[in-house]
């Protein structure tokens, strides 16, 4: 792609949201040599940190605030990044190019980057405000959950998605009990194929996690303001000491909508992460972005996606050429399982399983006309790595080789 014109070196960059995406925009700008003023505004009291370990290493006490931090606190001052924590944006005035914030004077920008992320979807059912009904997005959430996960305690997890499964696995490793309550008939229903759902459910069940599937949740019940159970639609109550609600996330796109930016389940951006206003970019969970590989647009909640877009913004500001689009990918750690997913199974017409799920080392390939659209690999790094490259190249694969784990993944392309 062509090199873009670098912006004026005194361009004022203002980044709203100091999560993984916003923090990375600031860091990449400095890496790429941008010397102008950067203001990074974050609602949480902490400088940018990694969220993925919150449901895993953090709960198990294997991570510290220092190890989770993207950069040490002094990085921001040393790199002349004006980090304003505990502050959130209230409104964007595109005409005057200013952002009204919850504390202090409006901030003027030449380039605005929206990185406000997504927030946990909440259940509007009776008892949802009881103490002990939790969500898991922030370090503060994780700390609360950790406190609730002692030996012998029971954690009820509402929602059998990745956050729920990871938290349940962490609870078990802390000698707590975990029960997963899921509306659909299988876990990971929205994000993984049936084979993978079945595998994860059995693996968790064998390690003590119990499941209530096809189960509606009517209410949280409690004693003296503290949750003691989850009431199901069939009338039963599942007793618990704490309840974690993990039923998806919604983009924090309200101020973007109010400012008239194009939004559609997230702020709509192009491949350079630019919104419908050329002076405003958006990155991460907040965005509805093009995915040329699949000829559609998607909203992704993943670190690699946020980093790819953060780099795109830094490229636009510093005049670097935009890198080729990456294959989206995801990972999850549960017990001793490493799940790695590359691509998305859009329009797939065939599923091929390589390896044996009973050995906890296998991969599920989703093919469209003989080309790999997505791979879900469990403890199977070669299948993930080669699969990711084959998703990118769209080279057709030989089914008889792909299905045979004794044949190297290097040899499966036709």
């Amino acid at each position: 792609m062509s090199v873009q014109e670098p912006m004026d070196p005194q361009t004022r960059v203002v980044i709203l949201g100091a999560g993984h995406g916003g923090g990375s925009v600031a860091a990449f700008l400095r890496q790429y040599g941008f010397a102008g003023p950067i203001t990074l505004v974050g609602e949480e009291p902490l400088p940018p940190y990694q969220r993925p370990p919150l449901s895993k290493a953090w709960l198990k006490g294997e991570a510290t605030a220092e190890s989770l931090a993207l950069k040490p606190l002094e990085f921001y001052a040393e790199n002349n990044i004006d980090l304003r924590l505990g502050v959130h944006a209230v409104a964007i005035d595109r005409a005057s190019k200013t952002v009204a914030v919850s504390q202090g004077e409006p901030i003027a920008y030449d380039v605005l980057v929206l990185a406000m992320g997504a927030r946990a979807r909440r259940l509007t059912i009776p008892g949802a405000d009881l103490k002990g009904v939790m969500e898991l997005r922030t370090a503060a959430d994780a700390e609360k959950l950790k406190t609730a996960l002692g030996a012998g305690k029971t954690l009820a997890v509402v929602g059998g998605g990745y956050v729920g499964l990871e938290a349940a696995a962490s609870a078990i490793s802390l000698s707590a009990k975990a029960v997963i309550i899921e509306r659909e008939h299988r876990v990971l229903a929205r994000v993984a194929c049936e084979e993978l759902s079945n595998f994860f459910q059995s693996y968790h069940a064998a390690r003590g996690v119990t499941f209530e599937l096809s189960a509606g949740v009517e209410a949280f019940v409690g004693v003296e303001g503290q949750v003691t159970g989850v009431k199901l639609a069939d009338g039963r109550t599942i007793a618990c000491d704490a309840a974690l609600v993990g039923v998806g996330a919604i983009p924090n796109d309200e101020i973007a909508k109010a400012a008239g930016l194009e939004c559609n389940n997230g702020v709509v951006v192009d491949l350079a992460a630019r919104t419908s206003d050329p002076a405003i970019f958006a990155v991460g969970d907040l965005t509805q972005r093009p995915m040329p590989l699949y000829s559609r647009s998607v909203r992704l909640e993943s670190v690699p996606n946020a980093l790819e877009q953060a780099k795109a913004v830094a490229c636009a500001v510093t005049g670097r050429p935009l890198a080729a689009p990456e294959v989206p990918w995801f990972w999850s750690d549960q017990f001793d399982l490493k799940l790695q997913i590359a691509g998305m199974p859009f329009d797939a017409d065939e599923i091929i399983i390589r390896g044996d799920p009973d050995t906890a080392k296998f991969a599920v390939f989703h093919l469209k006309q003989g080309c790999i659209q997505a791979v879900e690999a469990v403890n199977a790094a070669p299948e993930f790595m080669a699969g990711k490259q084959l998703v990118a190249s769209q080279k057709p694969v030989a089914r008889d080789k792909l299905v045979d784990m004794s044949i190297s993944m290097k040899l499966v392309a036709v």
């Binding site: 990085f75 980093l307 490493k338 790094a381």
Partner: protein, 106 residues
Amino acid sequence: MAKITFVEHNGTEHVVDAKNGLTVMEAAVKNNVPGIDADCGGACACATCHVYVGEAWVGKLDKPSAMEESMLDFAENVESNSRLSCQIKMSDALDGIVVTLPESQH
């Protein structure tokens, strides 16, 4: 505390101090060294922290795990001294280690 020298693909050097126990990847990321993306934050899930370890240091490192070997086997531009820097923990024995970065991690 041990010193690590990162050499970018274009030859630019970055010398950083790393506490014992920190990984080479963490030292790079915390010091904003360009060229180590570490998308997964050290979960050995992405191979975007690939480095070439200086010959004098290769033998001082623990052998790669099966997971790291598989990831490297399919990474791009792999050499015999390729490692994932998220799997190299710093110690006094590695003081002065030199690692060179590939042209691209993707």
